[in-house]
């Protein structure tokens, strides 16, 4: 971590897949440092697979994922976990666990055999709960919370890990629109405070509004990447999703906003 490259995390010509099924071949990508990178694309385009290989959950069969100029495979598991946090799509809360207890599990990479609850651990958990607005829920059982609250608890757990890089795998799925926006604003805050974020999202408008760097994928390849204002066009959406649409400025933020054309029906009111 002595040098400060313009990217800390990237993939160098990786081939990734599950079992013998290859999802992406020869894929290279760099996550700009300090960005809020959003990966978009249709279902099964390989965006989650890319995120999972960036977080070392799956090992590429060729090429390598690079972290701080070195192959990520050459790091110890705990070293990676001190730099790179992941909010997984499916995480399980043990029965009967309280919010604070679950958030504290995020401290694992910083703990040792006898050093399991230091003052630093306590500070990190407090800060993470404050940042996600769940301090009041601290002593509650996770099972009793609403979906939106529970997702905030998981985000707090990843924040307690205190990593400069955060990977988010479909963080807003299953949440209602208000909670989605809530969470996206939280991520933007984190990004503005210096974290580099990489998220897989389904909602193009949210991706364009909150992302600072967009990666559009299709069939395991990267079709376009860059600032949302530069790359989100009707042609790109047509190419990636096979959807004809209009791209208009978002009335609130001015960022590109996608209005699908479909079979236009205007219902009489």
């Amino acid at each position: 971590m002595t040098t400060a490259p313009e990217f800390r995390l990237g993939a160098d010509a990786v081939t990734v897949g599950y079992d013998r099924r290859i999802i992406s071949r020869d894929l290279s990508v760099q996550i700009p440092d300090g960005s809020f990178t959003v990966i978009v694309g249709p279902n099964a385009c390989g965006k989650s697979t890319l995120l999972r290989s960036l977080s070392r959950l799956i090992t590429p069969t060729a090429g390598q994922v690079v972290l701080d100029g070195r192959s990520i495979a050459s790091f110890k598991s705990k070293e990676v976990a001190q730099v790179l946090g992941l909010l997984p799509q499916t995480a399980l809360a043990p029965d009967g666990i309280t919010v604070a207890d679950l958030v504290a599990r995020g401290r694992h990479p910083h703990q040792g055999l006898m050093r399991r609850w230091s003052v630093a651990d306590e500070d990190a958990v407090l800060a993470a709960m404050a940042a996600t607005g769940i301090t009041d829920l601290s002593g509650r059982l996770v099972d009793e919370l609403s979906g939106g609250q529970r997702q905030r608890v998981w985000v707090a757990m990843v924040l307690a890990q205190q990593t400069p890089l955060l990977l988010l795998d479909e963080p807003t799925t299953f949440l209602d629109i208000a909670h989605q926006i809530d969470l996206m604003e939280l991520f933007t805050d984190l990004n503005e405070q210096g974290s580099t974020l990489v998220a897989v999202l389904h909602d193009l408008n949210q991706a364009a509004r909150y992302g600072t760097h967009l990666i559009a994928m299709k069939d395991g390849r990267i079709v376009a990447e860059g600032a949302p204002a530069e790359i989100v066009t009707a042609e790109l959406v047509e190419e990636v999703f096979g959807l004809s649409c209009l791209v208009v400025p978002d009335p609130v933020t001015g960022t590109p906003s996608v209005a699908p054309i479909g079979r236009v029906r205007v219902r009489a009111s």
């Binding site: 990676v80 992941l86 029965d95 207890d101 990479p109 703990q111 006898m114 003052v119 002593g139």
Partner: protein, 352 residues
């Protein structure tokens, strides 16, 4: 230095100990439950040391430990009764911890070594050694260990499909358990009468044969495994969060799983080798302990203390409650059966 309440509300009282390089956090309730169960086990064990053909008083037993007794009383307490009483507590703890490991890893209260075929594997392994090689503490222990590991490997391989999922593991385990049971029955039927008799009594799960020579090897193994578990308990806790979360929080999944399974199998196998397949302790102890401590997930230490208490108590009942001593396995089956019925009724009431 301990702070009664930190700056964080954990929903329960916690004890934080920070001194030099040590910084630990315990739930008060868990600590108290462990303490109470430990005290209860000690009390039960003291009573067990008093009971027998030569009844002794508690002060007499205590004076033996203080070195103030000699002759027959010392021999009875230290050489005859102590190994069995110690064995009951330590074996119970081993079974409780073993059950807790499996139940935590599979997230299923049914996944204990006695259900998923490991006990049956250890029993079959030990039987083969007895019948083919004629026995001996060390060969039987090794046979039980190998049998348990082979059963675990079989269950793991047959249940493996892009990782091992809890429910499939249990179903496969029950199948393997039944097959190994059939193998054991066949072995006993083919054996000479004396060997078959010994095997049958031992097969019910009994602490009768436990003296110092039978106790020491499993005791050493169990202590070593418990030491290893002080390291492995953290990965076990992280695994509860699911593979992705555990892995991204810096846990190496496969080494952790392998280490935990070997520990759990070793605990069951050495107990089975020394005392036969004692049923239900591994199944019931972790769940009862969880209800007592109200902890998140299945905790190892309380399960161990509860297992110790249950087996120590069961052995007193087995030896002294009826006119004729019973194998302790019969008592644990009755207690465990009662627990299962309670569990099923309780769960049914809660859900309906």
């Amino acid at each position: 230095m301990s702070a009664p309440a930190g700056r964080i509300d954990f929903g329960a009282r916690v004890i934080v100990v920070r001194r030099g390089p040590v910084a630990l956090r315990f739930r008060m309730r868990t600590a108290l439950v462990c303490l109470a169960l430990g005290a209860a086990t000690l009390a039960v064990s003291l009573v067990a040391l008093c009971l027998g053909d030569l009844p002794l008083s508690v002060p007499e037993v205590i004076s033996v430990f203080l070195g103030r007794q000699s002759g027959i009383v010392e021999t009875v307490v230290l050489d005859w009764r102590l190994p069995r009483v110690l064995g009951a507590a330590v074996f119970g703890a081993a079974l409780g911890v073993s059950g807790a490991i499996f139940q935590s890893m599979t997230r299923n209260p049914l996944a204990s070594p006695d259900i998923i075929g490991l006990t049956a594997g250890s029993y079959a392994g030990a039987l083969i050694v007895i019948i083919v090689l004629g026995g001996g503490t060390l060969p039987i222990t090794i046979g039980a260990l190998l049998g348990g590991l082979v059963a675990a490997a079989l269950v793991y391989l047959l249940a493996y499909r892009q990782g091992v999922q809890g429910f499939r593991l249990i179903i496969v385990g029950i199948g393997i358990s039944a097959m190994l049971g059939a193998l054991s029955t066949y072995l006993v039927l083919r054996a000479r009468l004396e060997v078959a008799m010994t095997a049958a009594i031992w097969g019910a799960g009994s602490l009768n044969p436990v003296g110092w020579p039978q106790l020491l090897p499993p005791l050493v193994v169990i202590v070593l495994v418990f030491v290893a578990l002080t390291v492995l308990v953290t990965p076990l806790r992280q695994l509860e969060l699911g593979d992705d979360a555990a892995s991204s929080l810096g846990t190496r999944l496969e080494p952790a799983r392998l280490g935990l399974v070997v520990c759990a199998v070793a605990l069951t196998a050495v107990v089975t080798a020394a005392a036969g397949p004692i049923a239900f302790v591994a199944l019931a102890a972790p769940q009862i302990a969880r209800r007592l401590t109200r902890s998140a997930g299945v905790a190892l230490a309380p399960s161990g203390f509860l297992g110790a208490f249950v087996l120590a108590g069961s052995d007193i009942v087995a030896q002294h409650a009826l006119a004729m001593p019973l194998p302790v396995g019969v008592v644990t089956v009755v207690i465990g059966g009662g627990y299962l019925i309670w569990l099923l009724i309780h769960e049914a009431r809660r859900r309906l």
